[in-house]
């Protein structure tokens, strides 16, 4: 990773994070790196490091954190959160960052594709007439191929 230019940091980002679920205890982090040592993703990919993401967030590097792809490497296994001696909700914090990244329009293509699938058909694995035919063959009832109510969850953005 290149040198970090703190003159471009956004000081309000820290306050913004601390005010949201998942970010409340963030300032308790004392950089012991237990999270990174526990992380199965960090073990195979050194680019991903929970403690570094927390540090970057606390320094106010909003753009770097939200636009980076490494936030999306987190597999939500909760190993870091279980072991954090300071009680920082690290996995919940990763979820918060992902939600903020999506709101800022930085979702990876795969996530956008899944969202569009759910918004369109209500399902990630869509059911079509071919599937219903196969279901009927083994005496399973047909299922609807669309779901209108799910669209309420995904306002057009």
């Amino acid at each position: 990773m290149a040198d970090i230019d703190l003159t471009k940091a956004d000081a309000s980002f820290r306050k913004e994070l601390l005010a949201q679920p998942g970010g409340e205890k963030l300032s308790a982090c004392f950089t012991c790196k237990t999270c990174t040592a526990s992380c199965p993703v960090s073990a195979v990919n050194a680019r991903f490091s929970p403690f570094r993401i927390i540090r970057m967030a606390l320094f106010g590097l909003k753009k770097e954190v939200l636009e980076s792809d490494f936030v999306w490497f987190c597999s939500s296994c909760y190993a870091c959160q279980e072991r954090c001696p300071q009680g920082v909700c690290i996995t919940d914090f990763m979820t918060l960052l992902k939600n903020m990244a999506i709101k800022a329009g930085h979702a990876p293509a795969g996530i956008k594709a899944q969202r569009d699938l759910i918004r369109g058909q209500g399902r990630i694995y869509a059911i079509d007439e071919f599937d219903n035919k196969k279901r009927n063959k083994i005496d399973l009832p047909s299922l609807p191929t669309t779901c209108e109510v799910v669209k309420v969850l995904f306002p057009e953005s």
Partner: protein, 50 residues
């Protein structure tokens, strides 16, 4: 006894054998299953990403 059956999206499309056996067992046990049209997605395929 009447229960709502939540299938999600994966089972009815990819793992129909689970649904089939669940329905058969429920029938044997005298459990009536109700299908709810809006029970479509549990978010499982996206779970590790959210």
């Amino acid at each position: 006894m009447k229960y709502a059956l939540f299938l999600g999206c994966t089972i009815p499309a990819r793992s129909r054998q689970y649904e089939l056996s669940a329905r058969k067992v429920a029938q044997k046990l005298g459990v009536e299953l109700a299908d709810v049209e809006e029970f479509v997605c549990c978010g499982f395929p996206s779970k590790p990403l959210t």
